[in-house]
């Protein structure tokens, strides 16, 4: 069984980097193909695994006005109710519009989960804020458990290492993560 994990967002734009952290934390997990989607989200429709993976998980930063780090999880029939299409700009179509386009093309995966991590700051060259980093690490671990990784804690460690060493965040900044369900 293959799970396609799509981490949407730019790694170098503050909280927008949450999806990339999740994807990178899971890239060595058996049964997972993890990709970072830092450009036009509609490119996911040209990924062969979009149509063939048994499961697709898309992780992106969202803004609904809730506390940073709050995790939203949407799946099943109601998924698109939470993600209205925006029509897109000249640069890209956006995640929600891409998913609606997939429906129109009859190519929405049967098993699709969209995880949104509430973010607030998207400044270029900055790491995600602490609650967002921790939410990303915890989501990576939770997904590893769901996928059946025998050592999901390792995924947490990978996520923390990415945050600490590569994003450049001090370990002392870590704190609790709030997990919410929408």
């Amino acid at each position: 069984m293959t799970t396609l994990v799509l981490g949407v967002g730019h790694p170098d734009r503050g909280d927008d980097g949450a999806g990339a952290i999740v994807a990178r934390a899971l890239e060595d997990t058996e049964g997972v193909v993890a990709r970072i989607v830092s450009g036009d989200p509609s490119s996911i429709l040209t990924d062969p695994l979009w149509d063939t993976a048994e499961r697709v998980v898309l992780v992106d930063t969202v803004r609904t006005g809730r506390r940073p780090g709050t995790v939203h999880r949407w799946s099943g029939q109601r998924l698109l109710e939470h993600l209205p299409a925006t029509g897109g700009g000249t640069h890209d179509l956006g995640v929600a519009t891409t998913l609606h386009l997939a429906v129109a093309l009859a190519r929405l995966p049967d098993d699709l989960t969209v995880i949104g991590i509430e973010g607030t700051s998207f400044e270029v060259g900055h790491p995600p804020c602490r609650p967002v980093r921790h939410a990303a690490a915890m989501i990576a671990a939770a997904l590893a458990r769901e996928i059946g990784d025998p050592e999901p804690d390792d995924v947490v460690q990978v996520a923390i290492r990415i945050v600490d060493l590569e994003v450049g965040v001090d370990a002392e900044e870590r704190g609790d993560v709030r997990l919410g369900e929408s």
């Binding site: 830092s38 450009g39 036009d40 509609s42 490119s43 429709l45 040209t46 299409a85 029509g87 897109g88 700009g89 000249t90 640069h91 890209d92 179509l93 519009t97 609606h100 386009l101 429906v103 129109a104 093309l105 009859a106 270029v124």
Partner: protein
């Protein structure tokens, strides 16, 4: 009120364009008095950010201005700096053919990605009667699937040469960090061959839609490569360099830009407005490029252009979608030619030493001429930077076009007029993020 002689129409947010802005129309006694594109997206201060940086940094910094035309920013910056530092100039160090080929090939990828997105996913819904790409996809699934595959082909070029599709990281002053092998480029040929045929079919398809009447004869400006500078087999349709030409007879080197063009502040927009130094408006972009360089298309593509109704200059902005399709065919065709001719350079980059002074560079971004100017001190630090993106140059001309267009369509109610205005604006594929730098519409009818 929709049909009174005095009327104000406001479009509060335009769909399928990039950035944030509004359109305001004032109508009094049945006459359109004013049309304003009100750009309120905050200025981005990239020019100020560049001051104090080294001459090697603009390609990576300015690429961040735009997610869909980063190559344009990179290569315009590089052209400006290299021309100042004596690289590729008539009396300077020659640029190896392989590096020139890779730069143009990279740019083909950007044209393909940008043009295909605009033609099929942003503009085609207007002509086929849909609110957007999603509604269109339900009835035209094959068309949308084709568009996605065409874009992927463009992205592949960007990834193989540039290192990644968005904000390529393999581009540097002097060349590239790594030159791809001939084999790496050859692996893309089958998909590019498919893309060329698919793009030809697409050009025929978009040429068959019904275009609203609008005939404009603005000053068109574009680049035009010097005939003498063309490598064997190249026809010289402008992409990554050229002289500055207009249909009013201007034909000067890029360094003469400040003598003929300038930018000015207007109260209703955070984006600067580009004008000719005589105060006149002008248009850059696919129609300008095509009208000034149709003779530079390969014969087969020139024949296609004639077949799809572009045998002569294109003066109806609504037909710009056809020109973009023709240019998409050209980008695939040119990519194939470049790969066939590719001569991998012995070193991926030449050394560029800083020279104090001012350098000018321009390339043809998908939306038109992108001009950069940098002044360096003796140590190669930037003391001044000027970036003039295509949307800024086009805004005054778009306002003029819209004034005439709205006047001719005042019989429409406000909703219908707004829809038509949005469609008209999309003809120019404006990118407000670049120009600051789109659309809320207000029409005030008094």
């Amino acid at each position: 009120m929709s049909h009174s002689h005095d009327r104000t129409i406001s479009v509060e947010a335009l769909a399928r364009v990039e950035g944030e802005g509004a359109m305001h129309v004032e109508v009094a006694d049945g006459r359109v008095e004013q049309v304003q594109l009100r750009i309120y997206e905050p200025p981005r201060f990239f020019e100020a950010m560049l001051r104090g940086r080294t001459y090697l940094e603009p390609p990576d910094i300015t690429a961040r201005i735009c997610g869909i035309c980063p190559v344009a920013y990179q290569l315009s910056a590089i052209n400006a700096i290299e021309s100042l530092c004596g690289i590729g100039t008539p009396d300077g160090m020659p640029m190896p053919d392989g590096i020139r080929q890779l730069r143009r090939l990279l740019y083909c990828g950007e044209w393909i990605e940008s043009h295909v997105l605009h033609i099929f996913l942003l503009h085609a819904p207007d002509f086929l009667g849909y609110q957007g790409a999603i509604e269109m996809a339900a009835d035209h699934r094959d068309l949308v699937e084709m568009a996605l595959r065409l874009r992927k082909a463009g992205n592949q070029l960007l990834e193989v040469i540039g290192g990644r599709a968005i904000h390529p990281i393999n581009v540097r002053v002097g060349g590239f960090h790594r030159a791809p092998t001939r084999t790496e480029l050859q692996e893309m040929v089958p998909e590019l061959l498919w893309g060329r045929e698919a793009a030809i079919a697409a050009a025929r398809l978009v040429a068959g839609v019904e275009f609203p009447d609008l005939d404009q004869s603005p000053t068109f400006a574009s680049l035009r490569p010097e005939q003498d500078s063309l490598p064997p087999g190249a026809t010289g349709y402008p992409i990554e360099d050229g002289r500055l030409v207009t249909n009013s007879g201007l034909d000067v080197p890029i360094a003469a830009w400040p003598e003929h063009f300038h930018e000015e502040h207007v109260e209703h927009s955070t984006a600067l407005h580009g004008r000719m130094t005589d105060g006149g408006t002008y248009l850059v972009g696919p129609a300008a490029r095509f009208n000034l360089n149709a003779d530079r298309l390969p014969a087969e593509i020139a024949d296609l252009a004639a077949e799809v109704g572009c045998a002569e200059a294109v003066t109806n902005p609504f037909r710009s979608i056809v020109v973009r399709a023709i240019e998409t065919v050209y980008a695939f065709d040119e990519a194939l030619r470049l790969i066939d001719a590719y001569d991998r350079p012995e070193t991926p980059a030449v050394e560029v030493r800083p020279v104090a002074g001012t350098g000018h560079g321009a390339t043809e971004a998908p939306r038109g001429i992108l001009y950069h100017r940098y002044t360096l001190d003796e140590e190669g630090l930037i003391t001044d930077a000027v970036i003039v993106p295509p949307p800024s140059q086009n805004q005054p001309a778009i306002e003029e076009d819209l004034l005439e267009f709205v006047q001719a369509h005042l019989h429409l109610d406000d909703d219908a007029l707004q829809w038509q205005c949005e469609q008209a604006i999309r003809n120019y594929d404006p990118c407000i993020s670049c120009s600051t730098h789109f659309l809320d519409l207000t029409v005030r009818r008094r």
